[in-house]
Symmetry: C2
Subunit: 264 residues, 2 copies
């Protein structure tokens, strides 16, 4: 990450776009392409991890930690931490960690499959955010101060569902609640500042007109990547939680319930 | 699934345990083993899908649909539906669908990684619950009447976190909210009746005594697999939602907010 240049013109930032769709002619691929072009046109440096094209390995196993003895019991957290701190992770993981480390913002582009990211993207998360890199006793504490603080994070998701089904009273659950494991559990936990998700609904039959509108809206969201207000999640260390990580009585906004408890 | 035998003795049921941990000596493997033995001792038929041992393929791609022309654009929903209805899915997917179809209950056993299942288990979900099998226009509508109605479903999860961090006011979010994509999004959406999740906390340093206590508690939950009250999620077709799939005004319990809106 670069320091601010103190000038009036936006400085160049580095953005990592992680994309997960098996079809190179898909809407997700088109949105990834659009984001790359749009961000480059704005002067940013953009890197892409196209997980299907990379044939990314989806599953955590002992091969991720080359020093792990085949006959020894694998403890994922302990072994991933040792390998991380010793610089002995599998090279594909180390390369992705380097991309995250040098990014000022991370964008995850994916189709909503069963109300969460495709397995291949989940496998990028599982394998890249090792103990010692994304969390763990050797890095700053989670939730606001975490290991990756200073970075912004944006989910860009497509879904066949209509928007009302993901609205505040929609049967699928509010989109931000459904994405809580990413927004709060991955981004905020590791210290990244998540923005409100960007979603394209009705994605199974998207007319040219609606695709153009989606691009315009996504362009506005990309323009605000470093200036829009992040989701105001609460800090673990800001005095809102007790020592058992529970929100203190009476801290919540009047009427707030559910996962909204954890927003200021 | 069998019909009730109308007698006083519990009838034999079929239970599918899907387990996802890379280490055969892990707590998750031990809990899977315990469940299998406990359910068999109770007279049930048990099948296990040990995803790491099976070398399960985690990612949806064109190889899942052998009739898909290599040069044709892959539409995951449409292609998976065609392959499902024609009986032309990859054999490993078809075999797992058969296991789910004949099961009276499905148990998912996994470690919580980044507030969701490991990628390998997500890939089992992504690949097995195709359009035409788990959802889609050719099967009963989702949420209570879904394609897999009549089955029960249980998450059994381990986490290094303390229980308070997943409690009602815990910073990670209430466990049932964090698991909403599985409980409501997978199980209830496809018509399965989910039970409250079973969780082992502090799983990174579990004493023999706490492991014994966890087994006892899990045994009680397994004993109630077909008799405990499922989570009382609302039916899409029961008159609680409008045509845009939003909860009607005033239907909720007083004070209910967040994802609790969708429970009776």
């Amino acid at each position: 990450m670069n320091e601010s240049n103190g000038g009036d013109t936006p400085r160049q930032r580095t953005v990592l776009v992680v994309s997960a769709h098996p079809e190179a002619r898909s809407l997700n691929a088109a949105l990834t392409h659009f984001a790359v072009e749009h961000l480059r046109a704005a002067g940013h440096r953009v890197r892409v991890s196209d997980l299907y094209a990379m044939k990314w390995k989806a599953t955590v196993d002992a091969d991720d930690f080359p020093d792990h003895g085949a006959d020894r019991r694998l403890s994922v957290m302990a072994d991933s931490e040792q390998a991380t701190l010793r610089g002995r992770l599998a090279p594909d993981i180390a390369a992705e960690q380097e991309k995250v480390r040098e990014a000022d913002a991370v964008i995850l582009q994916f189709p909503m499959w069963w109300f969460s990211p495709p397995a291949l993207l989940k496998g990028w998360i599982d394998r890249v955010f090792t103990s010692g890199f994304g969390y763990g006793p050797r890095v700053p504490p989670p939730y606001s101060e975490g290991a990756l603080a200073g970075r912004r994070a944006l989910v860009s998701v497509t879904t066949g569902a209509r928007s009302t089904a993901f609205s505040d009273r929609g049967i699928h659950g509010r989109l931000s609640d459904v994405l809580h494991p990413l927004q709060h559990g991955l981004f905020w936990f590791t210290g990244m500042a998540p923005l409100e998700p960007f979603a394209v609904y009705g994605a199974n039959e998207l007319s040219a007109q609606r695709f153009a509108a989606a691009r315009r809206e996504y362009g506005r969201r990309l323009d605000g990547l470093f200036t829009d207000e992040p989701v105001p999640f609460r800090s673990l260390v800001g005095g809102d939680y007790d020592h058992d990580m529970r929100l203190l009585p009476g801290v919540e906004r009047p009427g707030a319930g559910g996962l909204d408890l954890h927003s200021r």
